[in-house]
């Protein structure tokens, strides 16, 4: 077994026993990157020198006895988290070459924990998309089948972990952008409760929905990463000041006394039969671990896509107004007036999906349409939130599919935005309600594509979610493969 195949937990124990150095581990990841990156395209930027110098620093810290919880672990970061040492492009031409003057809080936290940042990952432009195909630079491929999408918008983050290029990654989830690519690539991905993790230095898409979270090879690693990034940040006024629980310890408990809700609206008739089967296997696994399964109903879930595709574009249209070609970002040099400068820079700097969402959002917020669209969608958001609150009366967690189907062929939904939006149907409502959610590998389709299982919990229910996810993982006992399969 090569070092890059280790989980964080395994690597930490070998680093601790001095059986492995961070330099050796990082070198192994860099070699793996050289071998597979040309086919999987997980990175927009990666830098071996920066990674190795951080690895050496981690080895020095370990020798000096100051060992952070991620000391020496090679990681990747989605290219919308600000980093002083790497450009931060958001997958857009608009931010080509942009080097932020500061690190995002979560980046500071993983560096302080001793993490080694190898590079920045491919993503849908400004996190708008479900396949990472709207990335201006390159499009990641699903490591299980290179003809298929990796998912999105944190596609590169998921691929970098699934393909063994790094041990874990940080992504962001506004409507499923961590959980969905994790599911399609056969790894674990968690979207924390809104406010649990700082958004400072996360380039904004839809501020009331965005949340940073980890993508990892297993649930224990997810707990380790969550521990490293959770907590209050004074620089993010929506971050919540509340003690962080011991997530790794939480994994150890069994499922006795936990009520798992089976929400009928997440199992529509047209659901892919293989996806249904995988999720039902998960239900059986949790039941055999001691959980009680109860039927619940969330009657307004079906309206989630419609509400989301007003609210998120509305917030995006406001957030992306800052890209005007003046202080940073792409500028059209030919413009003769200020308004021309704005229009030309934005039109050339943004891709089609970003323009589409800016237009929807601007329309929904414009005079005469505000009540019909934005206000209406915000009221339906209340109904969805109430559905979840009612569900928590009779259960502690919800189990469901992550996506209606396994990964699809690259290019097949690009010309049909609505079909693309509808693929997010099971993940969007988590964000509308600000809840934590996790995607855990559940099995493979007949074609050999991964299918994930989603668990959602009440606000700040991360411990319980990780505990259930860990039990699911233990009981399903899947073969955890790194793809494409190492040839050495």
């Amino acid at each position: 077994m090569e070092p890059y195949e280790l989980t964080i937990t395994q690597a930490l124990s070998r680093l601790a026993s001095r059986d492995l150095s961070s330099r050796e581990l990082t070198q192994s990841c860099l070699e793996r990157i050289n071998a597979v990156e040309p086919t999987v395209s997980a990175f927009i930027t990666h830098d071996a020198d920066i990674a190795l110098s951080q690895a050496d620093e981690a080895d020095r810290q370990r020798a000096a006895g100051s060992v952070g919880p991620l000391c020496g672990i090679p990681l990747s970061v989605k290219d919308l988290l600000c980093t002083k040492t790497f450009p931060t492009t958001c997958g857009s031409k608009m931010l080509a070459g942009f080097v932020p003057p500061y690190d995002a809080t979560v980046v500071e936290m993983i560096l302080r924990a001793g993490g080694v940042i190898v590079g920045k990952t491919t993503m849908d432009e400004f996190a708008m998309g479900s396949t990472s195909e709207t990335c201006y630079y390159k499009v990641p491929a699903n490591p299980w089948n290179l003809e298929y999408v990796a998912g999105g918008s944190s596609g590169g983050s998921a691929v970098s972990v699934a393909a063994g290029e790094v041990l874990a990654s940080l992504g962001s989830d506004t409507g499923g952008s961590i959980r969905q690519p994790a599911s399609l690539c056969g790894i674990v991905g968690m979207k924390p409760t809104y406010g649990r993790v700082s958004r400072y230095g996360l380039v904004a898409y839809a501020s009331s929905l965005d949340q940073v979270g980890p993508l990892t090879r297993d649930v224990q690693d997810c707990a380790v990463m969550m521990q490293a990034i959770s907590g209050h940040d004074r620089r993010d006024s929506t971050s919540v000041d509340r003690p962080v629980e011991d997530y790794s310890a939480a994994c150890a408990a069994g499922m006795r006394g936990v009520r798992i809700g089976l929400p009928q609206e997440f199992f529509p008739e047209e659901l892919d039969p293989e996806v249904r089967q995988v999720v039902m296997n998960g239900v059986a696994a949790l039941r055999s671990a001691g959980a009680e399964i109860v039927d619940v109903s969330l009657p307004h879930i079906d309206y989630g896509v419609a509400a989301y595709y007003i609210i998120a574009p509305a917030e995006a249209s406001s957030n992306l107004a800052r890209y005007d070609g003046v202080a940073y970002g792409y500028r059209d040099e030919q413009a003769n007036s200020l308004i021309e400068l704005y229009k030309n820079s934005r039109s050339a700097g943004f891709g089609a999906e970003v323009k589409r969402r800016i237009l929807i959002g601007t329309y929904a917020l414009s005079s005469g349409y505000y009540d019909a669209y934005y206000k209406k969608a915000s009221q339906v958001r209340t109904l969805i939130l109430d559905d979840f609150k009612n569900a928590w009366q009779s259960c502690d967690l919800l189990i469901s599919p992550v996506t209606p189907t396994p990964a699809w062929r690259r290019g097949s939904k690009l010309d049909d935005p609505l079909a693309m939006y509808l693929s997010d149907i099971f993940t969007l409502s988590t964000n509308l309600a600000g809840l934590p959610g996790i995607s855990v590998p559940g099995g493979l389709s007949e074609e050999g594509l991964p299918i994930g299982i989603q668990l959602q919990g009440p606000h700040f229910g991360e411990s319980l979610l990780l505990r259930a996810a860990y039990n699911l993982e233990e009981n399903l006992a899947l073969d955890r493969a790194i793809m494409p399969r190492p040839t050495t």
Binding site: T193, R234, V240, A306, Y309, R346, L359, K376, V380
Partner: protein
């Protein structure tokens, strides 16, 4: 039709975007499909429902009014497409 080409053109101006003839046509069709789908929300009676803008109600987060380090002028200008060492440069406004 939920939205016309003229409306899309107007919204594009509000959003400071320029669309080519072809883009305008494609975009109008796609926006119309999306807005027709969104009309699904009208099936729900929301007369007495309060809108939600944030899922968790966070009250005002105050901090002390203290001077902290901030970006230097040099750092602030570092990514500017055009500057004169003191300010961002833009085309003539008046």
């Amino acid at each position: 039709m939920k939205i016309s080409q003229q409306e899309v053109e107007h919204v594009a101006h509000l959003a400071r975007l320029h669309l080519s003839r072809e883009e305008l046509q494609t975009m109008t069709g796609q926006l119309d499909t999306i807005l027709s789908y969104v009309a699904k929300l009208d099936e729900l009676d929301t007369r007495d429902v309060e809108p939600t803008t944030h899922a968790l109600s966070v009250t005002n987060a105050f901090r002390e009014d203290a001077v902290k380090p901030s970006l230097t002028q040099r750092e602030a200008l570092a990514n500017a497409p055009q500057h004169n060492e003191e300010s961002f440069m833009v085309p003539r406004v008046l």
